[in-house]
């Protein structure tokens, strides 16, 4: 439940380092999220969709390298 996740988040003043990053388990995208934080943890090969046939194959090497 979204509300449960939110209430488990640390209080604002103490969560500078974590709260404005990207939580891939969370549906919400902070208006303040940094570009690099968002893309760094994006599940590029896609997450599994429970109960549905999957189309994903072997996971691509998860690197930050471009090109």
């Amino acid at each position: 439940m979204k509300d449960e996740r939110r209430s488990s988040r640390p209080v604002a003043d103490e969560m500078e380092a974590v709260a404005w990053g990207y939580d891939p388990d969370d549906d919400f995208i902070s208006p303040l999220i940094k570009t690099a934080s968002f893309f760094k943890t994006m599940p590029w090969e896609g997450e599994e969709d429970p109960g549905r046939p999957l189309t994903r194959g072997p996971r691509e090497e998860d690197s930050e390298k471009s090109g």
Partner: protein
């Protein structure tokens, strides 16, 4: 238009703008997650407090609280009121557009908060004409060439003899190179102006920079739909693409935009991405839509297992994947 007064708590939390429900006295009854993140406040801690006195004291001015009180008392008779305001958060100032709406609930006013992004760049200034040399220059003195519909139609016809796949690949490659280099140029301007790399800026600001910068070139504008991000996919909505009409309405030049968006997003993501058009706008009011992701992810997406969520997603865009034999 969404009726803000009838949303559930979960729907209020999911809104892409700040939403605060205040009593006429300013007591906070609702405080959504966007606003909590923007203000870096814990919503559980602010409920029941007075917005003007205990949560956002910078709003105790006639420009905000004064308008709110006039609106709440009915002195301002309009059903809604909108104005710009600058919040003085501890973590920095934030320009916002405030909306005040009367809630059907007794004694409640809904306050909406939309960020006003400061994305002024030299690039976004007007293009100027040098009549002596007959040049068009942007304000970073980069030459700009205006290419009308005749050029795009000529390009379309010039590529017409190529096999369709080779033609699309050529345009995609050119677009990708354009996108990467365009993003680098925007990056240089952002660094010069704000001392930040694009990847260090907020995601929505970076996207606004890039969308605005291609808009200056007359390419329309784009928005990025991130609702499929858990599946490794993003959807680009490109509005007012000149290529749809320029290529005699058949969208055959849109592979250039596929490459452009792949290049722009690759720069932001720091990895090589690709994009495929899923709907080409024939109606000027409808955007062209592109799905972007890694090459391997898109390969899987466009060859889905029947009945899979990928097949559903493609179907939602009206795309029929090739039959797997």
């Amino acid at each position: 238009m969404t009726d803000l007064s009838r949303l559930s708590p979960a729907e209020i939390d999911a809104l892409p703008f700040g939403f605060i429900g205040l009593s006429r006295e300013g007591t906070i009854r609702k405080y959504n997650r966007y606003e909590a993140d923007l203000a870096r406040m814990n919503p559980e801690r602010v409920l029941g407090k007075n917005f003007f006195r205990e949560v956002a004291p910078c709003t105790q001015v006639k420009e905000f609280e004064g308008r709110f009180r006039d609106f709440a008392s009915g002195e301002i008779a309009d059903p809604a009121l909108s104005f710009e305001f600058v919040f003085s958060f501890r973590h920095g100032a934030q320009r916002v557009r405030i909306g005040l709406v009367k809630s059907p609930l007794p004694d409640e006013i809904i306050v909406t908060v939309n960020r006003v992004l400061n994305v002024d760049l030299p690039l976004s200034a007007e293009i100027r004409h040098d009549p002596a040399r007959q040049l068009l220059l942007d304000s970073s003195d980069q030459r700009v060439v205006a290419l009308g519909g005749d050029f795009w139609r000529a390009l379309d016809r010039g590529l017409g003899g190529m096999p369709s796949q080779a033609r699309a690949d050529t345009l995609r490659l050119a677009g990708f190179d354009w996108g990467i280099n365009h993003a680098l140029r925007v990056e240089a301007l952002v660094q010069k102006t704000h001392k930040l790399a694009l990847r260090e800026t907020e995601l929505y600001v970076a996207l606004e920079y890039l969308s605005g910068s291609i808009g200056v070139l007359g390419m329309g504008r784009f928005e990025l739909d991130l609702s499929h991000r858990k599946r490794g996919l993003m959807v680009v909505h490109h509005f007012d693409s000149p290529l749809v009409t320029a290529s005699e309405g058949n969208g055959s030049c849109c592979a250039l935009l596929e490459g452009l968006h792949a290049g722009l997003l690759s720069h932001l993501a720091g990895r090589s991405l690709t994009a495929r058009e899923v709907t080409c706008s024939r109606n000027p009011k409808e955007p062209c839509r592109f799905i972007a992701g890694t090459p391997s992810r898109l390969e899987k997406l466009f060859h889905p297992t029947p009945g899979s969520s990928d097949a559903d997603l493609l179907a939602s865009f009206g795309v029929t994947p090739p039959v797997q034999g």
